[in-house]
């Protein structure tokens, strides 16, 4: 039987797009785990792999990139570039024997409050099984 723990998740959200959605989830009082911590960046394609790896080294169970997707105000290449970052980081994670599933990315638009919370719930559920993070 799995042992349950409170998974700590670091969310990279974007100032213009996914941050408003996370705020909206709060406004609508749609609850998710309080061990989800958000750090804001201008654009999801600006996230460095080293920051993600640093988070794992420091003890976060999971990292979630709430990406701009096609809504990115900075350009169409955002989705592709963010995908490359995730791919590169997955390779680094494999090299360190970290389950790549502990890094997730999904496009979260400025009104996608419910979608964000669903992502957090399912990610929390996955990470809370200690066998997935140990």
């Amino acid at each position: 039987m799995d042992t349950e723990k409170k998974a700590k998740i670091l969310v990279f959200s974007t100032d213009k797009i996914s941050d408003p959605a996370i705020d909206l989830a709060g406004l609508m009082k749609i609850h998710y785990s309080p061990t989800v911590y958000t750090i804001t960046v201008p654009c999801s394609s600006s996230i460095k792999s080293r920051w993600i790896m640093h988070a794992f080294e420091k003890g976060y169970d999971g990292v979630f990139i709430a990406a701009d997707g096609t809504d990115c105000p900075y350009g169409e290449s955002c989705s592709e570039l963010t995908g490359i970052i995730v791919g590169n980081t997955h390779e680094l994670m494999k090299a360190k024997k970290i389950d790549p599933a502990r890094l997730k990315m999904a496009a979260v638009c400025s009104v996608c409050a419910e979608s964000f919370v669903k992502h957090m719930d399912s990610f929390t559920k996955y990470l809370s099984k200690t066998e997935n993070t140990n």
Partner: protein
């Protein structure tokens, strides 16, 4: 590294303090290195608190400031100004969001919320400790506003913006301007008709050369951002050439009328809320703008009969697309009336049950006698709060306008026709402000008011071919009352527009009530979290005409203030190259969507250089650098990693 930091933890009334133990948060944060002052405050945004913070910064020579309160989307600039007033660089201020992302998000778990608030503030402290004093860059902005919706709010905003020197494009997805207001008859308190008000306003609009109107037009797509939106507009075919239609040309009008008469298609007239029918060629009222009628493309069978009579008709017109560049977008898209489902108080099942908007059109159309479905109306029952204040349904809100509108209509029929008895089955009359005068007048005229509640509502039934409304009046100790009436009017409220695409394209957040969401009801009532997109009027919540116009003027002022300087201050979030580490590889130039990085020479070594005027601070160049030689101001490795550390400590 900052060593004299002030931290203020806001109660936000009860919004934060109900779920977060702010005193415990204060105690924990006070233990952190570099924190000189820690205070809790009832409202950090209050003038008195702002003054206190300014005094603290000056007195203690604080070199960093953290305010833990609401989302930075709401008060970042308020508190940056506080820092600036005290002589502290505004970028040495960091806001910790412990309301939207903590107290509200975790209102089910106060202990968890308190713990999270501590971690979030520690993250903000880590950021402020490494923050630099910065000067924001500026971008040019187009002093042009696109207004979506040519109802009363949109037209009024257009006139105001034009008079302030802003160029305005105003688009209306219908073929005629005026929106809902043009559908209403006599308006309280001037008794002008909606048609007259719209005609007067549109005449004013036409005088302004810096306004361009497109009817039958909607937003197809947008790109860009505040100051420089590129918008593709879709213009649907009117099927009548507007330039052929002349004013005061009796011969032409005759031909057009013949074309309308010959049209074999009849559809429910949505201008009259479907209580009448119209042809596929139509115009809602004589003074309507534009003067040219339109052909309903969906209803028209393209039989071509009308073309024989009128050369202006062109059934081969196709939709068109045009591109415009604007600095801001103002949404004034209005509302849809609540449409009761079949069976709600007999609607759609009992012949003489109609909605308030239908009733208002009926009053407008019936000149001498009030007649519905060939029956002269001598008694009317109004059932209030239909589609509003729903206990079980989605619309929990009060629609605000409907009590007044129903009572005003009741007075109108008393004045216009003779001998009509009115029964008002209400849930407490909400004729606030001056509108209370109507309630008084109606009562004095003999209207009968009976109050029900959500658990004991009125019911409508047919007995022996007669329509009966029954209710237990709570003002007379629940005494049962029944009235046989000729007409039942469901006093329906407002709902958000069924058309969702405009909001979706612009990514405007919607609230729990499904209307567009402003940043803050009191402090930023017309701004959205999408920079450069403003909302006004009944697209953001139920409002009456007076309120909608006030919001439209407010939104117009905000849009003009944003754009009229021709430039907008941006965040000083620029990429920086560590030229010592850079070993030119060209990856950053390929990643930059703005051509903001070029190759330069540094003592014989090729390195990258950022053109600050072009850099938008997106950071796309950061992760592609193989030697990690690029950092973004405010998002350096040291800052990001220290925040990551602090939030889990």
């Amino acid at each position: 590294m900052k060593k004299k930091i002030g931290v203020y933890v806001c109660h936000c009334g009860n919004n934060i303090a109900d779920y977060v133990d702010v005193e415990k948060v204060k105690e924990e944060i006070a233990k952190e290195d570099g924190v000189l002052i820690t205070k809790t405050t009832m409202f950090a945004c209050a003038d008195s608190t702002q003054k206190e913070v300014v005094d603290d910064i000056k007195e203690h020579e604080l070199d960093g400031l953290v305010i833990a309160s609401c989302s930075p989307k709401l008060h970042l600039f308020t508190f940056r100004n506080v820092a600036e007033r005290a002589g502290l660089n505004p970028y040495n201020y960091v806001q910790a969001n412990i309301r939207e992302q903590v107290s509200w998000a975790h209102s089910n778990d106060p202990k968890g919320a308190t713990e999270k608030a501590i971690h979030i503030i520690k993250g903000a402290l880590a950021k402020v400790k490494l923050s630099e004093a910065l000067t924001p860059p500026k971008i040019t902005a187009t002093n042009v506003v696109l207004i979506v919706g040519a109802g009363i709010a949109g037209i009024r905003a257009a006139i105001e913006l034009a008079d302030m020197g802003t160029y305005v494009y105003i688009i209306e997805n219908q073929h005629f301007v005026g929106g809902r207001t043009s559908q209403w008859n006599s308006l309280f308190e001037t008794n002008e008709s909606g048609e007259e008000v719209i005609t007067r306003l549109f005449t004013e609009l036409k005088k302004r050369e810096n306004i361009t109107l497109f009817t039958g037009t909607s937003i197809n797509s947008t790109s860009g951002s505040v100051g420089n939106f590129e918008v593709k507009l879709k213009i649907s075919p009117r099927l009548i050439k507007m330039d052929c239609v002349k004013t005061d040309d009796a011969e032409f009008d005759k031909k057009l009328q013949q074309a309308i008469d010959i049209c074999p298609v009849e559809v429910p007239d949505d201008f009259n809320f479907n209580i009448t029918k119209r042809k596929a060629i139509y115009k809602n009222f004589k003074s309507e703008f534009p003067k040219c009628p339109a052909i309903d493309d969906e209803a028209c069978t393209k039989c071509g009969d009308c073309e024989q009579f009128c050369e202006a008709i062109d059934l081969h017109q196709k939709e068109e697309f045009i591109d415009i560049k604007v600095g801001a977008v103002l949404l004034a898209t209005g509302f849809d009336p609540y449409e009761p489902p079949k069976g709600e108080y007999g609607y759609g099942e009992i012949d003489n049950v109609i909605t308030l908007p239908q009733f208002k059109r009926l009053i407008e159309l019936d000149e001498n006698e009030l007649i519905y479905k060939d029956k002269k109306i001598k008694s009317v029952a109004y059932i209030y709060c239909v589609g509003s204040r729903q206990v079980d349904g989605e619309n929990k809100y009060c629609s605000r306008y409907c009590c007044t509108s129903a009572i005003h209509s009741s007075i109108q029929i008393q004045n216009k026709y003779e001998g009509i008895t009115s029964y008002h089955f209400n849930r407490g009359i909400r004729t606030y402000g001056k509108q209370e005068l109507l309630y008084k007048e109606s009562s004095e005229k003999g209207d009968i008011y009976l109050q029900v509640d959500e658990e004991n509502r009125a019911s409508v039934l047919v007995e022996n071919g007669k329509t009966i409304v029954k209710a237990n009046d709570i003002l007379t100790a629940g005494k049962e009352f029944e009235a046989e009436v000729d007409l039942v009017v469901l006093v329906t409220g407002m709902t958000p527009r069924a058309e969702k695409r405009t909001g979706e394209i612009l990514k405007v957040p919607i609230g729990r009530d499904k209307f567009f969401n402003e940043i803050h009801l009191k402090l930023k009532p017309v701004e959205t979290v999408i920079d450069g997109v403003f909302i006004s009027g009944a697209c953001q919540a139920p409002f009456n005409i007076t309120e909608a116009v006030k919001l439209a003027l407010s939104a117009a002022s905000k849009a003009n203030t944003l754009l009229n300087k021709g430039e907008i201050e941006l965040e000083p979030t620029l990429a920086k190259i560590n030229k010592g580490t850079c070993d030119w590889c060209d990856e950053c130039t390929k990643a930059c969507p703005y051509d903001a990085i070029l190759k330069t020479d540094l003592d014989g070594k090729a390195v990258a250089e950022v053109i600050e005027a072009k850099c938008k601070g997106c950071g796309m160049c950061l992760p592609v650098c193989p030697v990690d030689a690029i950092e973004l101001i405010g998002y350096s490795n040291a800052e990001m990693e220290s925040i990551i550390d602090a939030m889990i400590a």
